[in-house]
């Protein structure tokens, strides 16, 4: 791998940007690997990278049914934060934020991580109490989060309307300054390039169609659209299709898949300095470096695999955005789309061993998996390498649903998140 540097970018510019080599190989799948990762999104690629980098494994394949980063990694709204209520969650998400902070240097690839701050607005007494409870819990766990009055929120985010004429006036907000955004495609490409440099085979257009187990029940091979590939360690990181893939190995998950919608506006000059979100009236907005406003809508009501949803769901969010930020009322929307998110009953993920020996799963991230990309990959790699979870992901088991040990962020946030 040729390292990127200021000089290499300059030389690339002088030669008209036509001399860049491929950033990762497109190998034919081998007959077997020490480990197979199913799913070539950010999570799967990060898992392969950390397996190679930190655990010395080299014989690894990442199987992707489409193209790298073409699933939820390319469909999310790129928000990163770690201000979750429960200790288990804030440890998990803050592990990721700490990795984000040095990721561009580590990968030698600019993932454009920008800690511009995530402002979560409050509109009612109940909102304020919930926000302040989160702030205190975060403080106890060493995660930054602070309360802003309505005027302070306006100073931090000038387009915000804090007028009292609103149906739900803004009464303040919780700000996590270490939160922000990153460039989603760059995350997938950066991990793919770095994993490839460590010898990982990234195999695109390779759909897993079945799983084979040996006489003892342990995982033995995966059937794919490009032939049978054997491995004693298989990790599934398939987001919205987790139930489908795990079902091939006979594992039933506590997951339902829903379409989650997002949309972007026409690009405009820099105007929006942070990420702002309101759970109560469901607005969710930031501005990309290209200038588009990136707006997150909610999930549709019903389970689906269609990667699209109904317009009234997007409209609901746009109405809230226009109410909070009236300056945007005349903007036109360019694109909207959906991604399929895997939602658990407690809205916390599962990064764990499974009842099938040698089969591992990373799923259930629901509407908020992008922010955890480095952390999820790091912890899943540890779990695969040691056949035991890391202390941070030890609570996020599949068995917690039978044991009653839910990590109930669904109840804590009272919305999908």
């Amino acid at each position: 791998m040729r390292r990127f540097s200021g000089l290499s970018l300059l030389l690339g510019g002088l030669s008209g940007q036509r001399r860049w080599a491929e950033q990762w190989r497109s190998p034919e799948p081998k007959r077997g690997y020490d480990a197979i990762i199913v799913g070539g999104g950010g999570h799967g690629l990060a898992t392969a990278y950390y397996l190679a980098r930190e655990h010395g494994m080299r014989d690894i394949a990442v199987l992707e049914k489409g193209w790298i980063g073409g699933g939820n990694t390319g469909r999310n709204t790129t928000v990163i934060r770690s201000n979750y209520l429960f200790s288990e969650s804030s440890a998990l998400y803050d592990h990721a934020v700490k990795l984000w902070e040095t990721l561009s240097q580590e990968l030698n690839y600019n993932v454009m991580f920008s800690q511009r701050g995530v402002l979560m607005l409050a509109h009612t007494v109940h909102d304020e109490q919930v926000a302040k409870r989160h702030i205190h819990a975060n403080f106890a766990n060493g995660v930054d989060n602070e309360w802003l009055s309505a005027a302070e929120a306006k100073a931090f985010c000038p387009p915000l309307n804090i007028g009292t004429e609103l149906r739900y006036p803004v009464t303040g907000g919780a700000l996590q300054r270490r939160g922000g955004t990153a460039r989603h495609d760059a995350v997938a490409w950066g991990y793919a390039r770095a994993a490839n440099a460590l010898g990982v085979d990234i195999i695109e257009n390779c759909e897993v169609t079945g799983m084979r187990r040996d006489a003892s029940g342990a995982i033995a091979a995966v059937e794919t659209s490009r032939g049978l590939i054997s491995s004693r360690r298989v990790a599934v990181s398939a987001a919205g299709h987790s139930s489908v893939v795990m079902g091939m190995a006979g594992v039933r998950l506590p997951i339902e898949s829903f379409p989650l919608q997002a949309l972007v506006s026409e690009p405009i000059k820099p105007i929006f300095p942070c990420v702002a979100m309101s759970n109560t009236i469901h607005a969710y907005i930031s501005q990309s470096d290209k200038g588009e406003l990136v707006i997150g809508a909610s999930t549709d009501a019903y389970t689906s695999y269609t990667q699209r949803g109904a317009l009234h769901v997007s409209m609901h969010t746009l109405e809230a955005v226009c109410e909070l930020f009236p300056i945007f009322r005349r903007l036109r929307m360019l694109r909207n789309w959906g991604g399929i998110v895997d939602v658990t009953p407690d809205r916390s993920p599962i990064i764990a061993k499974t009842p099938v020996p040698g089969l591992y799963v990373n799923c259930g991230w629901g509407t908020g998996g992008f922010k955890a990309t480095p952390g999820a990959g790091h912890l899943l790699a540890y779990t695969i390498a040691h056949d035991e979870p890391h202390p941070i992901n030890a609570p996020f088991t599949l068995e917690r649903f039978a044991a009653g040990l839910l990590i109930d962020e669904a109840a804590a946030a009272a919305v999908s998140h």
């Binding site: 489908v244 039933r252 998950l253 339902e256 009501a301 019903y302 389970t303 009953p345 649903f401």
Partner: protein, 100 residues
């Protein structure tokens, strides 16, 4: 927006309905003799079908009745709706709806 055929009222827009999740889940009994795993599977386990999915809907902003539907989760097309208590119709998996 989906158009949904309520078995009591006819075709109405999706906004009048509330989704009720997977259909034909039977509460196991006697509950006290279940293992934690069996109970958790009833409570939380879902088939999450990619393909033809039998599911509950409620005409919440209409007649208020619960009913069931078979919908293809790869296209969102409704194949039929039927009243609660009736068995799931035996439909060929048409269109793009091959379960996999």
């Amino acid at each position: 927006m989906l158009l949904i055929n309520c078995p009591y009222c006819g075709v109405r827009p999706e906004l009048e309905f509330a989704y009720g999740g997977e259909a034909h889940l039977t509460r196991p009994s006697p509950a006290e003799s279940l293992t934690d795993e069996q109970w958790a599977d009833f409570q939380y386990g879902r088939t999450n079908t990619r393909g033809l999915h039998a599911e509950r809907w409620r005409h919440a902003r209409g007649c208020g009745q619960f009913f069931n539907a078979v919908r293809d989760t790869t296209t969102d097309q409704f194949l039929c709706t039927y009243k609660t208590g009736e068995p799931r119709p035996n439909l060929p998996s048409a269109g793009g709806g091959t379960p996999r």
